[in-house]
């Protein structure tokens, strides 16, 4: 009698657990969209599709070649074993054969060489980038050992982090330290970004650390996580402040080194939505998919985690290279617009540097915040030199 309630509780608990699993709103993480060997693809843009297609084509070529070569090889191993008293075929070669096995691979290689050019051009040549007007601008700053992102916010423009005081100081500095021939920063035709980039090289300003403070700044900063809309081209200006890093999204077949002193103009497009907005708080994201939990190489039965795409650093960048990852969240376009508005409003409402950091901490839920004021953007051109 006394055991009955216990069993009942247990049964109820099991039922509840089963019910929870059955009612898990998340779906299993998609494994499709991949070609043989490659990881699941979350982008249906031209370039990754081309890459997977090329991969398959090369795989066919390689497989056929292997079968032919190993077939002949094994045949030789079996058929031409040494037999006592016999002599080998005495031949020094065959011209026709030589020509055939030079021309045929050459043809295949020429085909492969030309087949990959369009994708390469769209990937790397800025004139051939997708021309959608609706591109999302993004800034990526790589540093040891973090990916820092800046989205332009609601107004679609990157604001200066500079306070008015810093601007005035910079103007004064330029006047005192350069002789004619340099663009007046107040001249609207002068490239303002270059002017701002130059400021960190001005010793007094650089050391004051006060120039990251702008009243109308609504840019969304984040470190270690990036939120993008699906099916919109993300066009990024990527820089590194210390060593070479490589921005790698395996699920989009995208990779580009971040080279210090050489800003990179890059673009990628994600297609499959991985997260939606929380119904109550539009700054919070909810995973659409779950995935298995692995501990020490063993799959944990019955355990699930939120599935999220990952960005990796693929170029050796020092002792903590292995920890330089970031998360990539893909929202539907309408969700992303709402999220962007909410985050941007939050950033704009909090005008000083400290609050910028707070927004950022809120979003990242990370206890370790990378200090943006110590992140010096690299300077491609130095006015006055």
């Amino acid at each position: 009698m006394s055991r009955f309630p216990k069993v009942g509780v247990l049964a109820a608990w099991f039922l509840a657990a089963a019910g929870v699993v059955a009612q898990d709103p998340r779906l299993p993480a998609p494994k499709d969209g991949s070609s043989y060997w490659l990881p699941p693809r979350f982008s249906e843009a031209y370039v990754p599709l081309e890459i997977d297609g090329l991969w398959n084509n090369i795989m066919v070529v390689v497989t056929i070649t292997s079968i032919v070569v190993y077939g002949i090889f094994l045949w030789c191993m079996v058929a031409y074993r040494k037999k006592e008293g016999q002599k080998a075929l005495f031949t020094h070669g065959n011209h026709t054969l030589e020509i055939v096995w030079t021309i045929v691979p050459a043809g295949i290689l020429v085909w492969l060489a030309f087949a990959q050019m369009p994708a390469w051009r769209q990937m790397k040549v800025p004139q051939d980038f997708p021309t959608d007007k609706n591109q999302l601008r993004l800034e990526i700053f790589a540093q040891q050992f973090a990916w820092n992102f800046r989205l332009p916010g609601n107004d679609g423009k990157f604001e200066s982090f500079l306070s008015d005081k810093a601007r005035a100081d910079a103007k004064k500095w330029l006047k005192e330290n350069t002789e004619g021939g340099i663009d007046d920063p107040s001249d609207p035709s002068a490239p303002g970004r270059i002017f701002e980039d130059a400021i960190p090289t001005m010793p007094k300003l650089r050391d004051s650390g006060k120039y990251w403070d702008n009243a109308d700044d609504d840019d969304i900063l984040s470190a270690g996580s990036l939120v993008v809309p699906a099916n919109r081209v993300v066009r990024a200006d990527m820089r590194s402040v210390d060593v070479i890093h490589a921005f790698y999204i395996p699920s989009a077949r995208f990779k580009q080194d971040a080279v210090p002193g050489k800003p990179m103009d890059i673009h990628f497009t994600m297609s499959r939505v991985t997260h939606k907005l929380d119904e109550k708080d539009p700054t919070k994201l909810v995973a659409l998919y779950y995935d298995d939990v692995w501990v020490d190489g063993v799959k944990q039965e019955g355990q699930r985690r939120d599935f999220v795409l990952e960005i990796a650093c693929a170029e050796l960048c020092g002792g903590n290279h292995t920890k330089m990852g970031a998360k990539l969240f893909v929202l539907s376009e309408s969700d992303w617009d709402k999220w962007n508005q909410a985050m941007s409003a939050k950033a704009a409402g909090e005008n000083d540097r400290k609050n910028d950091q707070n927004v950022w901490r809120l979003w990242n839920n990370q206890d370790k915040v990378r200090p943006w004021e110590r992140m010096l953007p690299p300077v491609p051109k130095y006015p006055g030199e």
């Binding site: 090369i58 090889f73 070669g93 210390d242 990779k255 190489g297 960048c317």
Partner: protein, 585 residues
Amino acid sequence: MLLQSGHDTHHKQSFFSTYVWSEDHKMIGKQFMFTALLMYAVGGLLALGVRGQLGWPETAGKFINPIFGWSGDKVPGEGYNMLFTMHASVMIFLVIIPMLNGAFANYVVPLQIGARDMAFPFLNALSYWTYVPAILILASSFFVEGGSGQGGWTSYPPLAEKQWTPGTGQTLWLIGAFTAGASSIMGAVNYITTIVKMRAPGMSFFRMPMTTWAIFITAILQLFSTPVLGSALLMQTTDRVFGSSFFIPDGLAVSGNPVTGIAGGGQVLMWQHIFWFYSHPAVYIMILPAMGIVSDVMACFARKPIFGYKPMVYSIGGIAGLGFVVWGHHMFSSGMNPFLGMTFMVSTMFIALPSAVKTFNWLGTLWGGQITFSSAMLNALSFVTMFVIGGLSGIFCAATSVDMHIHDTYFIVGHIHYVLFGGTTFGIFAGITYWFPKMFGRYMNEGLGKLHWFITFVAFNCVFFPMHILGSQGMMRRVADPYNYEYLKPMLGLNRFMSISAFVLGAAQIIFVFNMLWSMKKGRKVESDNPWKSNSLEWQTPTPPPHGNFPGPVPTVYRGPYEYSSPQVAEDYLPQTTKLPGDSA
């Protein structure tokens, strides 16, 4: 000595002048061989450290850290970087290049072309005695504050600059690599001069065995490219030591603080261009001589002439020539001009062509042969089969857009190990087994040789084939603990399997070294000077060859080296020195 040398005029030499300060190319070749084998053990142990960490990231430190004096239970990230940096540096600069272009080039070339010694015997000895300090300098970097080089064997700035990698270890790495390069240049000058000027009567260029051809072309590659590496290393050294900034642009930061005290204005990508201008040809420096060795071994044990001798020579030349204009394929993701990338892609696609021609010619050589599966032959055949995989996986890497996915992943690591371990190292095993009777007058043990070959072949594929899977799934190389990434966590099991196979692979090499050392003293003695019934000149002289290589006058050559199974004679071989009626030199 089986034939008494009639040329034995030199006076008796002391132990030191015979074994240490010798200027005899055969002794220098052996010195290179044993030193490189010792380094092979060092480089192999470093690789096992890397594999240990990837298989057991939580616990490997317990075994690895005490050796290097690192603290903690986990291998520190910097420590892991040292392990793979030094593994690659040792294997490339201190094992493969000295083994092929020190040991084999020295021992085999003068014998194969009928020269009495190298053109510059003193320079030859100096080349070895520059190689030894290079080893000591690189080894000493482990014992300085901050540890050895840890920027990868590619040592990319700015990471490798002193602002980001402080300590003398990286500087010692640069100086050590520079010294090894100097040794390599001295060797190259010697081989080119010897081959051009000192061939025996009748030994025209197109009667030279493939090993000699390969080493000749390799020496030219070395001579043109190594000084360029030297200049790059020197520039980085002055960056580190004298505060120049060849490779450091303006406005950089170290952990958030601005870099000060340098002029700035450097170019990061310049290093990569200069470095790969050497290091891509270096890949061919590390494979061409092995191709030559394998061609000789295969012709001998298939008892058949090399199929398409001249195309084989031309394809080595083609690989070497194209090898100078493909370096940019290491930089597809670096952000260099994309049109330059396209050019490099086309040239890279085309370098697959001579490699394919060579493979087909090897198959042609086997076709219709009388194949004996000796341990030398098994290793040579492994070279061909593994090189096919290494070559074909190279097509994925050469295709620029596909490379964007696999660049800097384990796919690349798998690719280079199929070429340099599956290729070159099997070639080295084949070469040592093949020329061992000439060096020491005794055979290596066949049973042990086959056992070593079998374990190595199986374990090698278990270690390196899965790397292609890891890489295509997106596992980056040079990552100390890949399981920090959720998507890589399921790869631990496969990595552990590879690590266990790597330990087996490492252990199997003990068999080879034991076999060598044991056979030197106790191996079966050769019954003739030409135990493999081979054609080239090194087998037509006493065993081991005397000082001056050939007793009496240098032999005259009447034909090419691959006249196996010729209908002109009853035997299935026809040495280059045999004069048949109607032959002229």
